[in-house]
């Protein structure tokens, strides 16, 4: 049992982590909030001052922001739909007794370990290039004209790349959940004469519902912050076609040196992410009790 000494020691030992995480998140966040109320440009540092909510009204009424918000939602929504639906199919397939399951698992999970800059550039140049990419060759072989991916369908291209990165994660988590399904329950269902569809709907889906929720929430958190893939392929363009909120904030802060406006964007991104985080922490919090 925890004695008084160990409790005291425990407080001391946990203190560095608490202090560091506090300094890492809360302090800069407070600074972001503060900056967001200032006219603060690095190019014109003399001329700074309090402007209240002006940065927010400017940011929110900026057509680029509306586009970025829309792009963020499209990107997150599409990748979620693709990776969760695809992940369920892949997990169901891998859960069957197949030959070489271990190797299959390794192959399916592999893309998750590829760094984002590599996956984006490999897809853009080796696969999706309209002149000599592999997809162009497939299209020509089938008698179609090759798709000019990143120029004509920039957002779709980014979605494809990011989906490839996240499909393995969804598959792995859902497969893990599937494998904990009780053998007896499976047998009982087949004895009762459940067809594949009702088996999936009444047995499998309720069993993995929680895992699906977790996948959706965790992916949403990461997908709201997609940055490197856009940075190395389209730089947010053409125009603002692939500019999402993280990229817009980056552009304001480090390319336009407008700290005030970037901070307002940062605060908006935090609010967006927090809505998701609250749901996730509820589920995780329930789990921590166990």
């Amino acid at each position: 049992m925890a004695t008084r000494q160990t409790t005291a020691a425990g407080r001391i030992l946990v203190a560095p982590s608490v202090i560091l995480l506090f300094a890492w998140m809360i302090v800069p966040l407070a600074m972001t909030l503060y900056f967001s109320s200032l006219r603060y440009s690095l190019l014109d540092a003399e001329n700074s001052g309090f402007v209240g909510l002006q940065n927010y009204t400017a940011f929110l009424s900026d057509p680029d922001f509306i586009a970025a918000l829309f792009n963020t939602l499209i990107l997150v929504g599409s990748v979620l739909a693709i990776s969760v639906c695809g992940g369920i199919l892949v997990a169901l397939l891998m859960d069957q007794p197949v030959f070489g399951q271990t190797v299959l698992r390794l192959m399916v999970i592999a893309p998750f370990f590829v760094m984002p800059t590599v996956s984006a550039l490999v897809w853009k140049n080796l696969l999706m290039n309209p002149d000599s990419g592999l997809f162009a060759w497939i299209a020509i072989s089938l008698g179609f004209s090759p798709i000019v991916w990143f120029t004509n369908h920039p957002m779709l291209s980014v979605i494809v790349v990011v989906s490839w990165e996240w499909l393995p994660f969804a598959s792995l988590i859902l497969l893990t959940a599937l494998q904990s399904l009780d053998e007896e329950q499976k047998e009982a269902a087949s004895l009762d004469g459940a067809g594949p569809i009702s088996y999936f709907g009444y047995i499998v889906l309720p069993h993995i519902a929680r895992a699906i929720t977790v996948v959706i929430l965790i992916e949403t958190i990461f997908l709201l912050s997609v940055f490197a893939e856009i940075y190395v392929t389209t730089s947010g363009g053409p125009g603002v076609a692939t500019t999402n909120i993280p990229f817009l904030v980056y552009k304001q802060a480090l390319l336009n040196f407008d700290v005030g406006s970037a901070s307002a964007g940062g605060v908006i991104a935090v609010v967006l992410a927090n809505v998701v985080a609250i749901f996730l922490m509820r589920i995780v919090g329930r789990n921590l009790e166990g």
Partner: protein, 276 residues
């Protein structure tokens, strides 16, 4: 009859599963193959799949032209250094969470995990300005520190779940024998929790190695790891696909192997234990 049918079904499922797995894995395989082509073979139409002159010249050139190994060295220093410092901070915290929890320990842990959910852009401007003023931009210390803090909640959480599985009696027996807290953690707890610590380290190395927001924004040359090195290929100069493939293969190979070793822990770590 029933046996035959199920064997036939098994073959069908196996074929489908292999096709799906192969397609998923193909971009990585294709990168690997392309890295051994000459630049001309790399853009050949129709593509050359296996029959071309296999060459190592891209690897030689990537190293001699842009000193790829220096970036690899930065990646290694950053991910391992961040891990060592991270362990020094997270092991004591996890001990506290597991063996001497206060009433609010659960809330503290939840709060720590919630910092993971803060989008990086929310603190980009102040961190960038602080780093500029402290001369930490583009320094290994600065970037390493950020990577450590970024992942810190994960080892604290994972380690505390592993520590909880260790019987507290053993630690108490050591205490009775007069072991100090430091000795208790170093010589009793750490060896017993070694497998858990190892899988935690694997996961955080993978996350640090692939981190590509802060490394791209805070490191430009001196401290730039492989993520930033690969990003430099986004501005193409002439034929460069085979070289891009060689650099990419070098950048992902080590972490792919580590990742394959740690896939079980990955589920536990990345879902914060919500899926086991």
């Amino acid at each position: 009859m029933a046996m035959k049918q199920s064997a036939g079904k098994r073959v069908g499922v196996t074929v489908r599963a292999w096709v799906v797995a192969f397609l998923t894995f193909f971009p990585i395989l294709w990168t690997f193959i392309t890295s051994f082509k000459s630049e001309l073979d790399a853009i050949a139409m129709p593509p050359k799949f296996l029959f071309f002159n296999w060459t190592l010249e891209n690897y030689v050139e990537v190293q001699s032209r842009s000193n790829c190994l220096r970036f690899a060295e930065n990646s290694i220093i950053l991910s391992i250094g961040a891990n060592i410092v991270g362990l020094l901070i997270s092991v004591p915290a996890a001990w506290s969470m597991a063996f001497a929890p206060t009433k609010r320990a659960k809330d503290v842990l939840t709060w720590m995990l919630s910092t993971k959910m803060m989008p990086a852009v929310g603190v980009l401007a102040p961190i960038y300005l602080l780093f500029r003023d402290l001369h930490l931009l583009d320094s290994l210390w600065g970037v390493g520190f950020v990577l450590m803090l970024l992942n810190l909640p994960i080892p604290i959480w994972m380690l505390s779940t592993y520590f909880k599985e260790i019987p507290v009696d053993i630690l108490e027996a050591a205490r009775m024998d007069g072991a100090s807290l430091l000795n208790e953690i170093l010589y009793i707890l750490t060896p017993m929790a070694a497998p858990g610590i190892a899988s935690t380290v694997l996961l955080t190395i993978i996350l640090s190695w692939n981190e590509a927001f802060w490394t791209l924004n805070l490191a430009t040359s001196n401290a730039a790891p492989l993520t930033a090195f690969i990003a430099s290929y986004s501005a193409p100069e002439g034929f460069f696909w085979a070289k891009l493939s060689a650099a990419s293969t070098l950048a992902i190979a080590p972490i792919l192997v580590l990742g394959w070793c740690s896939q079980k822990q990955l589920v536990r770590g990345l879902t914060f234990g919500a899926v086991k």
